[in-house]
């Protein structure tokens, strides 16, 4: 079996797991729960094997094109972390690993329904955006161990931030009651937009297929063209209305979700604790790997450790949001909901750092388009 078949299997498994976890959330049948975990583990195993296979594929190519390299250099340079596609795969792998650890440690499956959608979303995004899955040789600037450490640690921290995002969101769902409450509006609108965007991208995918090649063409001629940015004004207005109506529905009926989450044996305190702990692990890793190692790499490659290009600046913004999180817990009256909102916003900043900068803003080292 080759790596793309196995990646396909893991994508299917995570999406299936998402459905089973949600079913489990609704019916609380322990057999369903076991099935969800089993499917997740199966997806994880097949993804792990796929990553190893891809690594050996890179290795074979590297040793063929660059036969004079030593074994260790060849292995390092072949690490499957060199483009958008591979780094998203690695992110999902870390996220699922982190989730499985939490499931084991806290002996609860209820987070599954909130974590697997992120995994499914990321993997679906790979297919929808049609990003390159080719194995290409490494350009000179990318041949750096600092870069490898930088990318790897960034994605480990991103996955811990994704976990805190899920638990933060669950905390908000559990803790808000009134529709007029700002925390309630925040979580319903945020999740509403999330689902709408996902759905709109699905529509793009269905109507255009895999016609595009690069993220740039995706954003220019593809994204939301089936809905909000459709040539026909009627269609675009109609989709906007539908989106607003949908978000309104989420806002209106959000308390149903609260009932479901509330019927579980997870306490708000536990959610708060996991949110904090994930960030407490992710923050140092992100600081060291994401910011410091990235700066060292830039220093070695270009002679500037910090150049305020959009990618760097967005990493810094993300870092500030999480510093905000850590310090706002020290403010009087800032425990609980407000802090959870900051945790949710932190991950939104992560998504923007990672995808928004590549897709919307161009920069000196927009990942994957390096000279």
């Amino acid at each position: 079996m080759n790596s793309s078949t196995l990646f396909g299997i893991s994508t299917m498994a995570y999406i299936l797991a998402m459905i089973i976890y949600i079913t489990y959330l609704a019916f609380r049948n322990s057999q369903v729960g076991i099935a969800a975990t089993t499917v997740t583990i199966a997806g994880f195993v097949s993804q792990t094997i796929a990553i190893v296979i891809r690594w050996t594929e890179h290795y074979a190519q590297w040793t063929m094109m660059s036969p004079e390299s030593t074994f260790i250099v060849s292995v390092l340079r072949s690490a499957p972390l060199r483009n958008l596609f591979e780094s998203l795969i690695f992110f999902v792998w870390c996220l699922i690993l982190g989730y499985l650890i939490i499931e084991l440690k806290y002996k609860t499956r209820s987070f599954g329904a909130f974590v697997t959608p992120i995994a499914g979303l990321a993997l679906a995004f790979i297919d929808i955006s049609g990003m390159s899955k080719e194995i290409e040789p490494l350009v000179p600037a990318l041949q750096s161990n600092w870069l490898l450490a930088h990318v790897m640690m960034s994605f480990i921290s991103y996955s811990t931030f994704a976990l805190s995002f899920s638990t933060g969101l669950m905390y908000l769902i559990l803790k808000t009651d009134k529709r007029t409450e700002s925390s309630y509006i925040f979580w319903t609108v945020t999740s509403g937009i999330f689902i709408v965007v996902l759905f709109a991208m699905g529509l793009d995918y269905l109507s255009f297929g895999l016609a595009i090649k690069t993220p740039e063409t995706l954003i220019k001629s593809y994204l939301f063209k089936a809905s909000f940015l459709n040539k026909s004004v009627a269609v675009s207005i109609f989709s906007l209305l539908i989106a607003v109506a949908f978000i309104f529905m989420v806002w209106k009926y959000g308390h149903i979700l609260k009932k479901i989450v509330g019927s579980f044996s997870i306490s708000a305190e536990m959610l708060d604790e996991i949110t904090y702990k994930s960030i407490a692990i992710g923050f140092p890793i992100f600081t060291l790997g994401g910011l410091i190692f990235g700066a060292i790499w830039a220093d070695q490659a270009w002679g500037v450790y910090w150049s305020w290009d959009p990618k760097e600046t967005w990493s810094l913004i993300t870092w500030f949001v999480y510093a905000f999180f850590l310090h706002s817990r020290l403010l009087r009256g800032w425990r609980g909901k407000k802090v959870a909102i900051v945790a949710v916003m932190g991950f939104i900043a992560v998504i923007f750092t990672y995808l928004g900068v590549n897709l919307l803003l161009s920069g000196l080292h927009a990942y994957g388009s390096l000279e």
Partner: protein
């Protein structure tokens, strides 16, 4: 009265800067304003941002918006007075906030642990266990178990038994301050770099020697340009020694340095020569794998240092670092073709030649002529040669061979295709390089602050590790005498990660009860 009022103002300022609220506000402000700088492109030609603004506000309004944003410094936002002001405010906040809290934290860290009173034992969460035997008998076992769990302890004799008490990681409370200090170090290092550093470039042709580097400069008039060239020439002659150059010009050094600054000329204080530049390609493809420059540092007319550099592996001499950043062809340059000729039976010989030069294959009558050159030759599907790029991707020479005045054969010899090197008679001619026509683009930097920044990074790693993965733990173990047995009561606190300490204590208790043959809880 007067003094009191003064003090309260100072107090107010102090409290303002010591507050976490300010810190959180600054986090938000710096974060939000930074976003603007990633949307408005920084340091680019006005047209680019005008176009961007036109998209949001329409063509007619864009210039007005541009003017407003420009006057507020948004076109070079991260160097604008208000952004730097925010960073300084942030630093002041950090310093004063830390100073404000340090004494209290220091006291908490220094304060020696004391035995707990009955009252305190009641209030702290605790675990209990009963062991057989009197306190004097089990004392030893309990002590060993505590030591085993990694705590050195003190003991106090009490009316009904003993109390052991211990703490670990007092100074980990300072981890936060180490983290905060590191941020100041990084900011300080960045400031040192901005004030005392230099960032520029040097396009160095193969075979040429330079003693200056250049900063990107503005527009110059004709006279200025010729003055600039004169200064460069003089600095070249003095190995980048500004003092000596000033003496030769007959001006004082300060005047010369002001001019140099104006023209973006930066003296290296030594000379650097590019011996060669080569692009290496992945085998069987046109993807570049490596850009390599062979550089030599010259000081006092002596070669003092040699290194070949690639991207990610620069050369540093005298605190000046040279990075491989680009390359290109020197316009109108006439280089040398370097060919390695190996006769069918004989030793290889390396020759340098120019276009239309003739050469003899050693030991034969065969005469070659170098007729033509292409920077990037390849074969198309029909095996016909074609030039595919302007850069030297696969340089090739066209050679014509004759014997006794009669043309025998001719063809292209390509640098990267060994299959083209062989001649029909069994001799080989390898095209080694077309030398002296490319330049290597070097980024030149001197940054005395970079080590402070790196030190700050290391301190930050240590600080964060202490802050998030270590804690100040205290445990108290009381041995209470009961009828023929001892009740063990354990109380504990930790400023972080209490669950880990509890797990450790549970393990210790389990061990104790096992050694006792299964005591009851």
């Amino acid at each position: 009265m007067e003094e009191n009022k003064n003090k309260s103002i100072i107090d107010k300022i102090w409290n303002f800067f010591a507050s976490i609220t300010l810190a959180v506000v600054l986090f938000a402000l710096i974060g939000l304003t930074s976003i603007v700088g990633t949307i408005v492109e920084q340091n680019v030609a006005p047209e680019k941002n005008l176009k961007l603004l036109a998209k949001f506000f329409g063509d007619s309004n864009a210039p007005a918006f541009y003017k407003i944003l420009d006057s507020l410094g948004f076109m070079d936002m991260y160097h604008s007075w208000w952004f730097i002001g925010l960073l300084l405010l942030f630093a002041a906040n950090l310093i004063i906030c830390s100073l404000d809290r340090l004494p209290r934290i220091w006291k908490l860290a220094k304060e020696a642990i004391k035995p707990l009173t009955d009252e305190q034992f009641k209030n702290l969460g605790k675990k209990e266990l009963v062991l057989k035997g009197k306190p004097d008998k089990v004392k030893e076992t309990v002590g060993t178990a505590i030591k085993h769990a990694g705590f050195k302890f003190l003991e106090a004799k009490e009316a009904t038994g003993y109390q052991f008490y211990s703490e670990k990681g007092n100074y980990t409370r300072l981890g936060v301050y180490i983290t905060h200090l590191s941020i100041l170090l990084i900011l300080g290092g960045a400031i040192i770099g901005i004030i005392f550093g230099f960032k520029g470039y040097l396009n160095l042709p193969e075979g040429k020697t330079y003693s200056v580097a250049f900063a990107p400069g503005g527009f110059l008039s004709r006279e200025e340009e010729s003055e600039m060239e004169a200064i460069i020439e003089r600095l070249q002659a003095t190995e980048g020694n500004a003092k000596e150059a000033a003496r030769q010009f007959g001006v004082d050094e300060k005047t010369l340095r002001t001019k140099m600054k104006r023209y973006g000329i930066w003296p290296l204080g030594f000379s650097i020569r590019c011996d060669n530049f080569l692009v290496d390609f992945y085998k069987g493809s046109n993807m570049p794998k490596e850009y390599r420059s062979w550089l030599t540092i010259i000081k006092g007319n002596k070669e003092v240092f040699k290194k070949s550099i690639v991207v990610n592996d620069p050369l540093t001499y005298n605190d000046v670092t040279f990075y491989q950043s680009s390359f290109g062809m020197v316009p109108n340059a006439h280089g040398e073709f370097i060919m390695k000729i190996t006769p069918k039976s004989g030793a290889p010989e390396t020759r340098q030649m120019h276009r239309d030069d003739k050469f003899i294959i050693p030991g034969t009558d065969l005469q070659g002529t170098l007729k033509d050159f292409s920077p990037a030759l390849s074969f198309d599907a029909n095996n016909r040669p074609f030039t595919f790029a302007e850069q030297m991707n696969n340089p090739a020479v066209f050679l014509e061979f004759s014997e006794k005045g009669k043309t025998k054969y001719s063809g292209w010899i390509m640098k990267r295709y060994p299959q083209t090197w062989g001649l029909p008679d069994g001799h080989t001619v390898e095209f080694v390089d077309y030398w002296g026509v490319e330049y290597t683009g070097l980024q030149v930097r001197k940054d005395p602050g970079v080590w402070v920044v790196y030190l700050g990074c290391m301190v930050m790693a240590v600080g964060l590790y202490i802050t998030f993965f270590m804690s100040h733990k205290k445990i108290w173990v009381r041995l209470l005498e009961e009828k023929n047995s001892t009740r063990i009561i354990v109380a504990l606190t930790a400023n972080k990660n209490r669950t880990a300490l509890e797990a450790k204590t549970d393990k210790m208790m389990a061990l104790l009860s096992k050694s006792d043959g299964g005591g009851k809880q």
